[in-house]
Each structure stands twice: as structure tokens, then as C-alpha cells.
Symmetry: C2
Subunit: 494 residues, 2 copies
């Protein structure tokens, strides 16, 4: 059957929106990797203009008219078809884009930009009170944002929906309660491991060569990927055919290897979305949680596993003969899997990591509902750190001021980090049923079949289905913390 | 006095247009320097979308309404004020943007993109007939483009106006007739120079170091400039505070030094536009001719001059001891100023260069007026090469197929290259009246006063005034080929 003319019109409009998204991703990448610093002010204006135009195109009356016309047609099609999916998802996006007045969006962006500047000053001085007025304004704006919506059970659901569409706070709470319960004994049982072998002088050029070798084994190709250096690693892809991973080499640690693998996971998800979805607004990863499932899968389930190092450790040793020549593989793998409660989320190990996230999730719910006043936040943070991880930050710089998210206006983002970890193991378990020899493949440095499985069962769908439906198609059911807890117990309680 | 509200509205709209121009310049720079090749197709769509949106914003009804409202106010102001200039120039831009239907613009872009692909095939095969159908379509579209305008004496004036606003074909013809007459005896008198010392193995890393040293002396600063490698050097500045020069190092020549200086000239013009004009659409160089006056000034009047090498040659010798240790400064300066008629414009010396341009100017006038049929172009090209330069291309690859401009849809662009050379010497002569010791400064490696003079008399104006008025403010009169011919005679007839 032939698509109606309105569908071609809709696609032409979605193509423009997609193009501007890709442009925004390039602006971001360039800003963090190549832009001369004096270009910052002009870049901020350019990014804001592109975002504003994208929002205007996304919420245009004409898009609504086309969607009204196309919905009956789309509902007559196979719901799995690209056409039906494009109309369905575009409808959802349009509804959301129409809800929020342009002035509120602009105010949120302005306040977030300001908040980040204040945070950058407050953190090194460990001065929470300096940040508090910004935080109060952001919470107020976020409440006004919530008020733009209706039909929700929980204010937090509205915020969460921007990052994990369709997920509810109550579901997250149920998952996190179980995770908390499962992690406590693992954390209590963790035994001290000496990982000083990871903190030696490692020449950066050798780290670079090793990172490239590793990525090429994973499936990085020169014609469609880049690897660049930045202060805080991220992945940004101007197109599915143009995927840019960034990393940060430390002269005195091997930390960069894991952050490179992490960002590769984000990159390969984007790279392997079905090209048929290009320029439809569906041609990108479906949620932050599923994105994080992939970054953490490549970082932890692949990159901290014994099979991985069976292949790569001899190569690492020859790259760093002096530093690692006398360290055996088992000792190395134990060091990269060290578990120990610590203060800083981004440096946390696989086991304690989710506790950091749960703490933020609980606090931001209380903040948005007004049950916790910003002035009481530092004390609440420290108490909860003590209760979840048994450590107390000596300063707010090591506590409540460590992340930029809230200062930048992002509330509802944090849980996706732990949801990703949970889902990563569900997907991994399901994959091993189809590929029982995956460990043997990894030991041979072969990742093609693994990537192929992930592409087929997850990556290619892009935004065609909801995150929940996408997960269901990959693993056969809803989010479930049991595989994650089993995996951690199996690996770390041994 | 306070500007009316409509002026603030107009400026907000111009700011968006300026932002998109900067974004386009980043898209171009990235594409030619960093983008993985598989990203090409997506990038073409992104660039087209940004250009289209920019055109929509530039030709919006509301801009016309604001301009109607503001024109009487602007005319009551000092014409030199930023406010009056913004309204005047925005009015001119709006008029032009309204003239050309979006479909014709899109067709020109499409045909130009196709033409470039065909050209890339036709040139290595030296197959003009392969390109001819594209060329015919482009000429037809360019005639339709001309028809969108009225009140012109000469069809070519309309095309030229896109690159050198306000300039007329008849004026160019008058300048070029005098240039032709003046260059003939210089070319006839040119004596053979052995420049084989420039064609040795020059390690690229040493070229890179030397280029940076040179640019830093010129005023390149890490916080607002970049220097990257590309196939065909260009300059592109996402903002006046973010200027990106590119170059191409050849392992067997020092050619890159001159193309780096050339692109620096383009960059410094953009860098030194008055920051008050940022985000007004006036904050950029006023014409291709004046831009080229600056690239050729820094390349030739600075970079091929004896004072420049008095300072830099000892440094160049120590960078390339083996290659240049036994070559004296005089011999080196003579080699970089060798004059000899040749086939390829971009490799031509300072004296013969304008002849290549004049040839193209004359042929494209005949083509657009229908006095020359595309099928007869190769023969006409070769005849004219013989008459202007005394050489005949052995193949069309070395002749009519060497440039991409016509294939890409650009007609009326070429003359700006030679107009720039002419104006560069007018400006230089005028500058030396104010700075009689400029040679002594350059011999000491000091360029700050020179750059300051150029900023004050030329760069800072951006697009505030017409190119003709901008030149008049710098040199006191209209375009004049005599200083250029005097300079070449003085340097090369000696």
C-alpha cells in the first residue's frame, strides 16, 4: 500500500528536526574537544538557537494537523512497521513539545546554565550555600514544568519521563528497594584488595595505542568513528554513520580504558540503529536507561570480565612491560574488580555504584515534593551516605556538590544510571542463552557475534518502541533486578 | 536616544540568522577536517537544512515589516552608526533573499552538488563531455536566477553581486583590461629561476612547528584560533572568537607555508571585526574581493617579501638545516618569487596569477550571455591560455577542468581573486604612508602594528559599509590597478 501524501510531508518535517538534533550533537562534541575557549559565548548562543528552532519545528501546528490526519491510517498498519511507529512516536513527541511554553523552556535553560557556572565555583570551595539559591530556583522551575502536564500519579513521574519515557517512580522504587537489600550484604562482605598496580605511571601514548586496538576489536572503524580526548568523557554522534567517542587519559592510572569502553557502549548502540530510521527522529537510542545498559555492559560485563583479559592482558603487559610485567592476570583482574565503599559516584566500583544512585533518587524525590528543603540537603546527603555505604563525606565537595546534574537543571536523570546497570545484566543473561560460547569468543578477542546479537535484539529498534517494550523484546519481560544481583553475588561474593 | 522596540525585535531575528551562519561554518570545517567519511550523506542533509532554515528566517515577512517600520528611524541616525548600518544592510539582504524562490535555490544547490560529483569523475579522466550536461544545466539555472532580479545593465552584474556586492562587470572589465596590459611585458620579461631548493624532502613535523611559530608571530592565539590539516586549505570561523585556519603539508615542498599565511589573512580579517557587530549579520568580512585582498596580502606582500625572510629565514634554516643550510637568503627569496607562465591557477606565481583569473572572467561572461556554447569551451580556454600566458594545456584536466567553481554552480566568483590582489596593494601602499617603518618592523618579526592598522582601517568595519565604501575608507579612493602594477614591476622587473 502507498503512504498518503501527508506521511511524506510529516517525514520531511521530522527530517529537519533530526538534522538539527545531529547538528546539536556536533556543536556539543566540538565544544568539548576542539573549540578554542574564546568561542564559548558564541557557541552557547548557537546551541540555544538550534535548540529553540528544533522546538519550534517539533511543536508546529502543522505537525499536529498532519498527525491528526495520519493517525487512523497508522493505526490500520502493523504496529511494528516503521510507518506506524513513526506516526505513533511523532505523536507522543508532539504532545510533549506542546505542553511546555517556550518561555519556561528558555528559563530552565538559562537557570541551568547559570547553575552550572555557580556550581563550578561552589564545588572547589565546598560552599553549598553559594549554590543553594540556584538550586531553589531550579526546583521551583521544575515544579512549574511538572504543572504543564496532567494525568500523573506522582510529580516525579513527569521528570523521569524525559529520560526514561513511560517509567514510573513507583516502579523505580520497587526495583531500587530490592537492589538496596541485595547489595547490603555484598558490600558488607567486600574484602580489601590492593589495587596499587593500577596507579602507576602509564605513558599516555601507550594508553592511546592500546585503546585504539581494543576499540578496533570491538568494531570501531575509521570510516565512521572517532576517538578524541576531553575533560569529562562522553559520546556524541552527529549521525548514526558518524559516532564520536571521547576519553580522558590519566598519566598515573589505567582508568581511561574503562571509560573508553563505557563510551564505546553508548556509541555502538547509536551506530547500529536501523539506517531505515535515519532522519525520522526514531533513529537514536530509546532512553538513557537502555543507553546506560550498553555503556555499562561494555565497561563491566565485557571489560571487567576474565575472558576479556584472557585475550587483552598479554597485550596490555607488552604495552606496559615495566609496570605490569610481573603482575599476573588474576591479580590484575582482581584489582580492576576491587569493591570498596567510597565517596564519589563516578569512581565507584560495580557493586557500590547503584547505592550512590539510589541516594540521589531518594533525595531528589523529597526535594521536588518539598519534603526536604535545599538548606537541609547536605546533612541529609551525609546521613544517607553513612546509612547506605558506611562512609561520611568530610566536605560537601566530596558529597552533595560532586555532581553537576541538579545545578544544571536535571532532575529525574540519576535513576537511569542504576536502571541501566540492572538491565545490562538482564540483557547479558538472555544473550548467553543464545550464545553459550560467548566467553570463548571474547577470550579469542572476537566481538562480532555479540555485537550482532545486540544489534538484532536491541540496537536496531532505535525509538520505535517504548523503553519497556524495547526491553521486553530483548529479554522477554519487564525490568527485573534479580539477574543483576545474582551476577554481582556470583562475581563478588566468591 | 533609545532604539525603538522594533529594533530589538529585528536584532533578535538577525541574531538567529547569524547563529545559523556560524553553525554552517562549523559544519563545513568539521566536514573537511574531522568528520569520518561515512558521515558525508547525513552532513549534506544537515547543511542543507541549516541553510534552508537560515533562508526562511532571512526572508520572513515579519523581517520586512520590521524594516519598513525602522527605516525612517534609521535614516534619521548617523549613517555610520551601528544601528543605521544594521537596518540598511538587513534591508538589502532581505530584498535579495525575497527575490529568489526557495525551489530555485534548492535546484541550484542540488545541481551544484551533482556537478561537483561529476567534476570529481571528469577531471582525472580529462573528460569534459562528461561534465558538459551539468554545466549546461547550471548555466540555465543561473540565467533563471538572473531573471529573478530587475534593474541591471548586465546579466553578469547580478551574479557578481553575490560575491562582490555593488561591483559591476564593466568596472571589473576596465580594471582587468589595464591589468592585462600591465602584466604582458612583465610576463614576457620574466627570467628563468631555478626553484628546485623548494622541492626537497621537508619533514612534515618540522613544517608544522615552523607554521605555528610563524602564525604566533602574526598574532594567532591558542584561545581563539586553530590550525588543522585538510586536503584543500580554507579558513572557516564559527565565530569571530573562534577562527579556524587549515593547511595541507606536502612532504616534498614548502608550499604549505604560503597557503597557511594565505588562510591566516582570511582568518585575521574575521577575527578583528568589531565585536559590537557580533550576531547582527554584519560581523563578517564584506566581500570575497576584500577577503582575498587580505589573504593575498599576508601571503605575498608579507610572506614573499625580503623583510619577512630577513627575520624568518634563519629560523627556517635551522628547522631544515640539511635542506637549506647551504642556501643563502637571497637565493631562497628569489626562488619563492619565481615567475613563470604555467597551466594551473592555484599554483601560479604572483605575476601570472591574475591572467588565469581574467581568462575565467571573460569566458564566464560569454557563457552566461550565450555568446559561447559549453561545447566550445575547451577550445576557447586553450586559445585564451595561449594568448594570455603563451602556454596550451595538453589535456582538459590541466585546462578547463582544473577548477570546481563552475561545476559547483558558482558563476561570478572568479574575478574576486584578482580584484583582491589589486586591492591588496592599494591597501599596502596606503598603510606604508602611515607606517613608513613597516619593513623594519617585519624584519624584527613584529606584526602587531601592521595588524592594528588593518584592523582600524579595514577589518573592524565588517559588513557595515559596501565593499566600495569599505575600500574608500581604507585607501581614500576606488579600486585602482596602478599600485598593483607598480608593485609587480618594481619587484619583478628589477
Amino acid at each position: 500500500m502507498t503512504a498518503p501524501a501527508a506521511f511524506h510531508e510529516l517525514k520531511a518535517r521530522l527530517a529537519e528536526i533530526s538534522d538539527l538534533s545531529g547538528v546539536s550533537r556536533l556543536l556539543l562534541w566540538d565544544q568539548q574537544t576542539k573549540m578554542p575557549i574564546a568561542g564559548s559565548a558564541a557557541r552557547a548562543e548557537q546551541s540555544a538557537t538550534v535548540t529553540r528552532l528544533q522546538h519550534e519545528l517539533s511543536s508546529a501546528d502543522e505537525v499536529g494537523r498532519l498527525l491528526d490526519e495520519l493517525t487512523p491510517w497508522a493505526e490500520s498498519l502493523d504496529a511494528d512497521s516503521d510507518e506506524a511507529s513513526v506516526v505513533r512516536v511523532a505523536g507522543r513527541d508532539w504532545e510533549k513539545a506542546r505542553r511546555v511554553p517556550a518561555e519556561l523552556t528558555a528559563e530552565l535553560r538559562r537557570e541551568g546554565a547559570l547553575g552550572l557556572r555557580v556550581w563550578a565555583e561552589a564545588r572547589p570551595r565546598s560552599d553549598f550555600e553559594l549554590l543553594r539559591p540556584s538550586l531553589e530556583r531550579i526546583l521551583e522551575l521544575r515544579r512549574r514544568y511538572v504543572d504543564c502536564f496532567e494525568d500523573y500519579d506522582d510529580a516525579y513521574d513527569v521528570l523521569l519521563d524525559d529520560f526514561e519515557p513511560g517509567m514510573k517512580a513507583a516502579e523505580v522504587q520497587a526495583v531500587f528497594d530490592r537492589v538496596k537489600e541485595g547489595l547490603r550484604p555484598l558490600i558488607a562482605a567486600a574484602e580489601p584488595v590492593d589495587d596499587s598496580i593500577l596507579h602507576q605511571a602509564f605513558p599516555i601514548e601507550a594508553q592511546e595505542r592500546f585503546s585504539h586496538e581494543m576499540l578496533e576489536r570491538f568494531g570501531y572503524e575509521e570510516d565512521s568513528w572517532r576517538l578524541d580526548v576531553t575533560a569529562h568523557p562522553f559520546m556524541s554522534n552527529p549521525a548514526t554513520t558518524d559516532v564520536r567517542v571521547t576519553t580522558h587519559y590519566h598519566p598515573d592510572s589505567l582508568h581511561s580504558l574503562f571509560s573508553t569502553m563505557h563510551e564505546f557502549g553508548h556509541g555502538v548502540y547509536e551506530r547500529d540503529v536501523d539506517p531505515a530510521l535515519d532522519r525520522t527522529t526514531l533513529g537514536t537510542g530509546v532512553s538513557l536507561g537502555l543507553h546506560e545498559s550498553q555503556s555499562r555492559m561494555w565497561e563491566n560485563l565485557v571489560g571487567r570480565g576474565r575472558p576479556f583479559w584472557r585475550f587483552f592482558y598479554p597485550r596490555l603487559q607488552s604495552a606496559f612491560q615495566e609496570q605490569l610485567g610481573s603482575v599476573d592476570e588474576q591479580e590484575f583482574v582482581r584489582a580492576v574488580n576491587r569493591v570498596e565503599p567510597s565517596l564519589i559516584r563516578i569512581d565507584a566500583d560495580e557493586v557500590t555504584y547503584s547505592m550512590h544512585v539510589i541516594l540521589r533518587f531518594e533525595l531528589e524525590q523529597e526535594l521536588i515534593e518539598g519534603r526536604l528543603a535545599p538548606r537541609d540537603l547536605p546533612a541529609a546527603w551525609n546521613e544517607r551516605m553513612e546509612s547506605l555505604l558506611g562512609v561520611t563525606p568530610p566536605t560537601d565537595a566530596d558529597g552533595v556538590l560532586q555532581d553537576m546534574h541538579w545545578a544544571g537543571g536535571l532532575v529525574g536523570y540519576f535513576p537511569t544510571y542504576a536502571l541501566g546497570s540492572v538491565m545490562s545484566v538482564q540483557i547479558w543473561e538472555r544473550m548467553t542463552e543464545d550464545m553459550p560460547d560467548v566467553d570463548a569468543q571474547i577470550e579469542r578477542g572476537e566481538f562480532g557475534e555479540l555485537r550482532g546479537w545486540l544489534r538484532e535484539h536491541l540496537y536496531r529498534h532505535g525509538r520505535k518502541f517504548s523503553p519497556q517494550e524495547t526491553l521486553r523484546r530483548a529479554v522477554g519481560g519487564p525490568i527485573d533486578p534479580e539477574p543483576y544481583l545474582r551476577y554481582l553475588a556470583g562475581k563478588h561474593a566468591a
